[in-house]
């Protein structure tokens, strides 16, 4: 962004992007308030994030900028807050590209005594509401491709099914982390329908992160990811509430970090202590800038991040 846009067209473009973001935030807040969710704000500067192999935190003075508000929000669930949401900035080092920016806005919401399917029902209604607020209808076009965000347009596809169909192997049977990432971006994602929301359901257990395993199928975790127009938009879990298993997963993530020469992260002991009191819950993180990009009919995040450098 220059100090003052060079011409009236650029000024109108800036105003449009600022207004679209403000309208999206207003629609999100209205959506959750109408459903009895409480908006919360948790710290941005943390003593510890959730250690993940491929998520790098930005260090800041005595701690780190948050890579997600997840651990703090789960402490609120453990403290008796049943339906909460938060809209705010998160930071991930080294992520920069057409659909990545090291600082981005994340929407997270959690429901106590629920799981990833209840969160899926919320997500369907939220997307339709956001599209209606910004585009006037659940059906609109992104870069000239028709996109339907109506709840009945959504398709669900098992991760295993999608990999068997497009990459020729089932990652829940014989897991290979490198092959999973490469095939996901080069074979599976390009094959997903781009004209409607697509949910990839039930990730292999080694990719459970903070999700619980399926009670009847421990090779898979209750985790889903949402794709819109081929863009990864959200990640949802039936939350893991077992502190011992959570600690073991954090330590395993740190061990993998060490193995590839990355520094391990400290564990959030206050979170692990609180987890024992946390009720069963479902939760989700949704990339708001990417949603705004699509609703603003932009090809890259550049158009919706006026302060982006370079």
């Amino acid at each position: 962004m220059t100090n003052r846009p060079a011409d009236s067209e650029a000024l109108r473009g800036l105003r449009r992007v600022l207004e679209l973001r403000a309208r999206l935030y207003a629609a999100i807040r209205r959506f959750f308030c109408d459903r009895g969710f409480l908006e919360v704000e948790t710290p941005v500067l943390l003593p510890a994030n959730a250690p993940e192999e491929h998520v790098a935190a930005v260090s800041a003075g005595p701690g780190w900028l948050r890579t997600s508000p997840e651990l703090a929000m789960k402490r609120l669930l453990a403290a008796g807050q049943g339906k909460i949401f938060q809209l705010g900035p998160v930071f991930r080092a080294g992520e920069n590209g057409r659909w990545h920016h090291p600082e981005f806005t994340l929407l997270e919401w959690y429901r106590a005594d629920a799981g990833y399917l209840e969160i899926l029902a919320d997500a369907k209604e939220l997307l339709a509401a956001a599209a209606a607020a910004l585009r006037g209808a659940a059906d609109f076009a992104w870069r000239d491709v028709p996109l339907s965000c109506a709840p009945e347009s959504w398709v669900q596809l098992g991760v295993s099914e999608a990999f068997v169909a497009h990459a020729g192997w089932d990652p829940a049977r014989e897991f290979d982390a490198d092959r999973f990432d490469l095939d996901l971006v080069s074979r599976v994602e390009p094959a997903l329908p781009a004209d409607r929301p697509v949910v990839l359901m039930d990730y292999p257990a080694p990719l459970a992160a903070l999700a619980r395993r399926k009670p009847d199928d421990p090779a898979r975790a209750e985790r889903w990811e949402l794709y819109l127009g081929g863009v990864e938009l959200a990640n949802a879990y039936s939350e893991l509430t077992d502190p011992a298993e959570q600690r073991a997963r954090f330590e395993a993530a740190n061990a993998r970090r060490r193995a590839r020469g990355a520094a391990p992260y400290p564990l959030d002991e206050a979170f692990l202590a609180a987890l024992a009191q946390m009720p069963p819950a479902g939760g989700i993180a949704l990339g708001v800038d990417r949603l705004l990009m699509i609703l603003a009919d932009a090809a890259s995040l550049d158009a919706v991040l006026p302060f982006r450098n370079g």
């Binding site: 990432d181 971006v185 080069s186």
Partner: protein, 189 residues
């Protein structure tokens, strides 16, 4: 010598399984919980075809031994074309296969950029336009200045080219070496 994936950018030349490629498009990709990768479109510098290739951020990528030299066409001998380095007077032979259609547009002392991969000539870049004499064509209809109706003609190398009706044997024409097509009639060079 090797690159890391962080060096990838448009135009970078890399080597994969013994073949040189040029990166024509690249994009940072990273599944939320997955590793950082670069999704590239790469062009086979010998065969010319393109394909998609995704590199992990931790991958090492070979750097091809590519050298570009300015050479001047000297003469043809059988299916070999002899070029000269005007500084060192070194002679370099290029096989007809490397040149393909381009061999028809060579003229004596024409300056060309030749790309070598591991010491072997791989591709050649001609000047965008060359001037050639028409050796064979039906007599032109005087006064017919239409340029959209073409008739067949041949240049000295036997290359067949469509030219406007008014072009005669012995005329000189400018040819676009990238398309192999007639551009305009010119005075004798």
């Amino acid at each position: 010598m090797a690159y890391t994936a962080a060096d990838l950018r448009k135009g970078l030349k890399i080597e994969l399984e013994g073949i040189p490629y040029e990166v024509t498009e690249f994009q940072f990709v990273k599944p939320g919980k997955g590793q950082a990768m670069y999704k590239c479109r790469i062009k086979n510098m010998i065969a010319g075809n393109t394909m998609e290739k995704t590199f992990r951020a931790v991958d090492k990528i070979d750097q091809p031994n590519i050298e570009s030299r300015t050479l001047h066409f000297s003469y043809k001998e059988g299916d070999k074309y002899v070029f000269m380095d005007n500084k060192t007077y070194e002679q370099v032979e290029l096989h007809e296969e490397v040149l393909g259609e381009q061999c028809h547009f060579l003229i004596e002392d024409l300056e060309c950029e030749v790309l070598f991969f591991n010491g072997r000539a791989m591709t050649i870049e001609l000047p965008a336009f060359v001037i050639k004499e028409i050796k064979e064509t039906e007599p032109g209809a005087r006064g017919d200045t239409a340029t959209n109706v073409l008739k067949p003609a041949k240049i000295d190398t036997g290359y067949e080219i469509g030219v406007p009706i008014f072009i005669n044997q012995g005329d000189f024409i400018r040819i676009d070496t990238r398309t192999g097509k007639y551009v305009e009639r010119v005075k004798q060079p």
